[in-house]
């Protein structure tokens, strides 16, 4: 399994269409680096994006430099994945 240690999901709130456009630009600037879980759609909807650990610094700097406010939705994806895998293994043992 791919390891997602340190990868985060950032929730970005765009104020207007211009800020949404800056988020859309990220897909072109960082192809295959930023994985939009909820893509830039409209200002009323949050944008959630998974950012690999190696890109976190750059992406956060990009957001901050353009005045895009964000919060960390998931701090470390691998922690959740480990919990998920453990829960599956436990359930599998009980089912058997």
């Amino acid at each position: 399994q791919m390891n997602f240690t340190g990868d985060q999901v950032l929730r970005v709130l765009a104020r207007d269409e211009k800020q949404l456009s800056l988020l859309r630009d990220l897909e072109g600037l960082k192809p295959q680096k930023v994985d939009f879980w909820r893509g830039p759609a409209r200002p009323s909807l949050p944008v959630d994006m998974r950012v690999p650990f190696s890109e976190l610094k750059d992406i956060k700097a990009y957001l901050e430099s353009h005045g895009l406010s964000y919060s960390i939705m998931i701090k470390d994806i691998q922690v959740l994945l480990d919990e998920e895998r453990e829960a599956m293994a436990k359930s599998r043992r009980l089912e058997r």
């Binding site: 399994q1 997602f4 994985d35 893509g39 998920e84 829960a87 599956m88 359930s91």
Partner: protein
């Protein structure tokens, strides 16, 4: 047997297919399994048929898991299938529905992608098709349908997560459904289940143009969301896909609507932004319980509003 199966846990493809076989065997009076095709990597594409027999009834289609990483949708589909057999004969509305209509559920719409989420990449979305000239793998199966194919909200670049594929219905997972539904010819409702962000939506995705039945679909979505809310007080928003979420072309429900299936809906299940695609298994049953009430509302309306 299915008695040891935990509906409050996530399962891999082998476990789901094994559950399917046991489930069909245990409820052979009402459930059967149909293989409608094979995936790109040659896995069987299976559909559960719930029918009380008789001539070919009007039918309702439900699919889950077209996006591989949306595990809550497969889990909800399995719980729903079990709910149908548990409640048939007890719930008068469901019983009436099944006396007049058949229900088809495709639990794993993207089997290759789903298997890949268990073996290699938990966050994989697309299918696993490969083609010469690109090193990127996979097509977004929810951009590969004929309706509005290649338009706004889909991508022509194979590396994109919303890559629409080389031509409409190029992907065997989509082509199999199109062939099956078209050959059947009597589907009256289609419900395509996704996650996440808590929405219930109807066509169009491809444009802001309201569909001709917009008022009825809006009203039905409102009723369905209300029924859903009453279970665990989970709030959904609703409306057309393009006005509620985003413009997306080549999607399942647009194809369904354009193919004459008026009651075409797309769900985005829990949550609104804590876990996203990594929704803990403890939330499977509450999610499925509330989703069921919305599905039931759509199915009941389909029964009582024949067209």
């Amino acid at each position: 047997s299915t008695s040891s199966f935990s509906y409050s846990a996530y399962h891999n493809l082998e476990e789901i297919y094994s559950w399917t076989d046991n489930f069909v065997m245990e409820h052979s009076d009402i459930v059967s399994k149909i293989q409608i095709g094979n995936s790109f990597e040659n896995r069987p594409i299976l559909v559960l048929k719930f029918s009380t027999g008789g001539p070919r009834h009007p039918a309702i289609w439900i699919d889950t898991g077209i996006h591989a990483r949306e595990w809550i949708t497969h889990a909800t589909g399995i719980w729903t299938a079990n709910k149908i057999v548990s409640d048939y004969g007890k719930d008068p509305i469901l019983t009436d529905i099944l006396k007049a209509m058949d229900i088809f559920i495709e639990l794993v719409t993207n089997p290759d992608g789903f298997a890949f989420t268990h073996s290699m990449n938990r966050l994989w979305r697309k299918n696993k098709s490969i083609r010469p000239g690109t090193f990127c793998i996979g097509v977004d199966l929810n951009r590969n349908w004929k309706s509005g194919f290649g338009g706004n909200g889909s991508n022509s670049k194979p590396c994109s997560e919303t890559y629409h594929g080389p031509f409409p219905q190029s992907e065997p997972e989509v082509a199999a459904i199109v062939k099956f539904i078209t050959a059947h010819g009597n589907f009256k409702a289609l419900i395509s289940i996704h996650s996440y962000s808590q929405m219930l939506m109807y066509p169009y995705g491809r444009s802001l143009e309201p569909v001709s039945n917009q008022r009825e679909l809006y009203s039905l979505a409102k009723d369905a969301v209300k029924a859903l809310f009453e279970v665990h007080r989970t709030e959904y928003i609703f409306g057309s896909i393009s006005t509620t979420l985003y413009v997306a072309s080549g999607i399942t429900v647009d194809w369904a609507y354009d193919s004459g299936i008026k009651y075409a809906f797309s769900f985005e299940l829990r949550d609104t932004g804590h876990y996203g695609f990594l929704l803990p298994a403890t939330q499977i049953i509450p999610t499925a319980q509330e989703t069921w009430m919305a599905i039931r509302t759509v199915m009941e309306h389909t029964l009582t509003h024949p067209y």
